[in-house]
Amino acid sequence: MDAPSQQAASTIDPKLLARVVKGDQQAFSQLYDQSSTLLYSMALRILGNREEAAELLQEVYLEVWRKVARYDVGRGTPIAWLITLTRSRAIDRLRARGSRAHHQVSESLDGPSATQVADRNPGPLEAHADQELRGLVGGALAGLPQAQQQAIELAYYEGLSHMEIAARLNQPLGTVKTRIKLGMSKLREHLRHCWEQGDRP
């Protein structure tokens, strides 16, 4: 195994999870190394707080350790499964937290945005495959009108329904729905175009 593929979150081998299922410590350690930066970044984006993001990540990895047998390769890539699980747990936590820490979320909204592709500073160890995917997704997102990107991010990273987004942005419901629909549709077209030429992450 070469180093880049060991480090890439986008190229986690389903066999690695099979090893984790067997209780393979080393496999679990490798799974952590490949995925933790991405999952932590996402947890931080959702929760807007480093300590909480770390707590969440611990929770998620322990759940992965226990529930890894539930991973079904037919339903998506390992990283897609991990991302879905992490997002779901983070949104749960965000909702449980309620409005108490709302300002922290707003804070994170003002923070670095995904569109600032140029500012991104991939770690030296970051795998080539991930860099490509980052460029691809970042580029696709940056290609969206600001309003569409904002609507998608409010749903995806803040767990808001279209009604809540409409209320937050003071926009008609139909407008919000259309923004998400159009944005997602464009992302799909953009990514499909690229995926058709290579492997789906």
């Binding site: 970044s41 226990r66 047998a69 890539t77 991930d130 997704v137 749903a155 995806y156 329904s161 279209h162």
Partner: protein, 338 residues
């Protein structure tokens, strides 16, 4: 929700932007096996699952990994010795599951150390309960959806049955309508027959009147007696002219049957096939009917149809050549008084 609305909801579903009700509706639709929506959902979910790659990366705290590895160990330790010391290298990918769901067959249960097994299962049961809670909830949701779906199916089949009943009723109704139409035409036919019979009867009466004098004189007179008792009969009296000073007549009109009855007395006998003709004078005279006075006859009753009796100004009886004339040519014998 229409299919188009459901299809539109797919990208929103993938980023988690749907309201609960909408989510359930879409899930029910997906459970129903819509291939196009399913395909679209898979693609949108793939998109959603790479969105975090668009984020700036922040590495987790260095200490976190050690913490996680350590936190995981109490659980792991109880399992791993079993795995490592197991005489059979048999821990297949699904083996972990067997700790959560002990297999029903006892093939390998005996070989496991029971005390350890029980402890493991107890610890795992508590741990996994929390972990599975959400999974179970999801399963419950899915079950509820399936139930709702089944209910919808039942309702749909009931609807179909009702529709069938309705169709049958409609068919019956159409049959009944046809029958009624048939009956109606029967009735019409019968009515026509009745009218024909009435006409025949009338003819027979006329023939009878033409054949037997005494008989004819009596029956119409009886009818006349009835007519005179009818309340809305109009009467016009006719007086004899210089041609027949002793003659007189009365003209009765029955509005119900639109018939006029001329009862004349003391008119002279018709010579050489000539005939008396009754005229209704509107703007000009119109023939109403003809009658004979044979020798020895003193009274005569003429019954004729006359729809426009009321518009006639005058009535008169003249003596005309045989067969009558379209306009009066002979001398007048009776003339109405009014």
């Amino acid at each position: 929700m229409t299919h188009e609305e459901l299809e539109d909801a797919v990208p929103l579903y993938a980023v988690g932007a749907l309201e609960r009700v909408e989510r359930q509706a879409l899930e029910a639709h997906l459970l129903s096996g819509c291939v196009s929506c399913h395909t679209a959902l898979k693609e949108y979910q793939s998109v959603a699952a790479v969105l975090p790659f668009g984020l700036n990366t922040t590495p987790p705290p260095r200490a976190l990994k050690a913490k996680i590895m350590a936190a995981r160990t109490p659980d792991a330790l109880t399992v791993e010795p079993a795995a490592q010391h197991s005489p059979k290298p048999s821990l297949e990918p699904g083996e972990w599951m067997n700790h959560l769901f002990p297999p029903e067959s006892s093939s390998r249960a005996v070989s496991f150390r029971w005390a350890l097994g029980v402890a493991t299962i107890a610890v795992l049961a508590i741990g996994s309960y929390l972990a599975w809670n959400s999974y179970v909830r999801m399963t419950e949701d899915t079950t509820t959806l399936a139930q709702l779906h089944a209910q919808a199916d039942t309702t749909a089949s009931k609807l179909t049955a009702l529709q069938q009943q309705l169709n049958e009723r409609e068919k019956t109704l159409a049959q009944l309508r046809d029958e009624i139409q048939l009956r109606t035409s029967d009735v019409t036919e019968l009515k026509d027959q009745l009218i024909q019979r009435e006409a025949e009867l009338e003819d027979a009466k006329i023939q009878l009147a033409q054949r037997g004098g005494t008989q004819r004189a009596r029956t119409p007179q009886d009818q006349l007696a009835v007519l005179l008792r009818t309340p809305d009969v109009k009467a016009v009296s006719l007086a004899g002219t210089d041609m027949a000073k002793r003659a007189a007549g009365v003209l009765l009109y029955d509005a119900r049957t639109q018939k006029v009855w001329l009862y004349s007395v003391n008119l002279p006998e018709c010579p050489n096939g000539t005939t008396y003709q009754l005229w209704a004078i509107h703007d000009k005279p119109v023939s109403v009917g003809m009658f004979h006075m044979d020798s020895g006859e003193t009274a005569h009753l003429l019954v004729k149809q006359l729809p426009n009796f009321t518009s006639a100004k005058k009535f008169a009886v003249s003596l005309e050549p045989p067969g009558g004339r379209p306009q009066p040519t002979g001398p007048l014998y009776l003339v109405s008084q009014s």
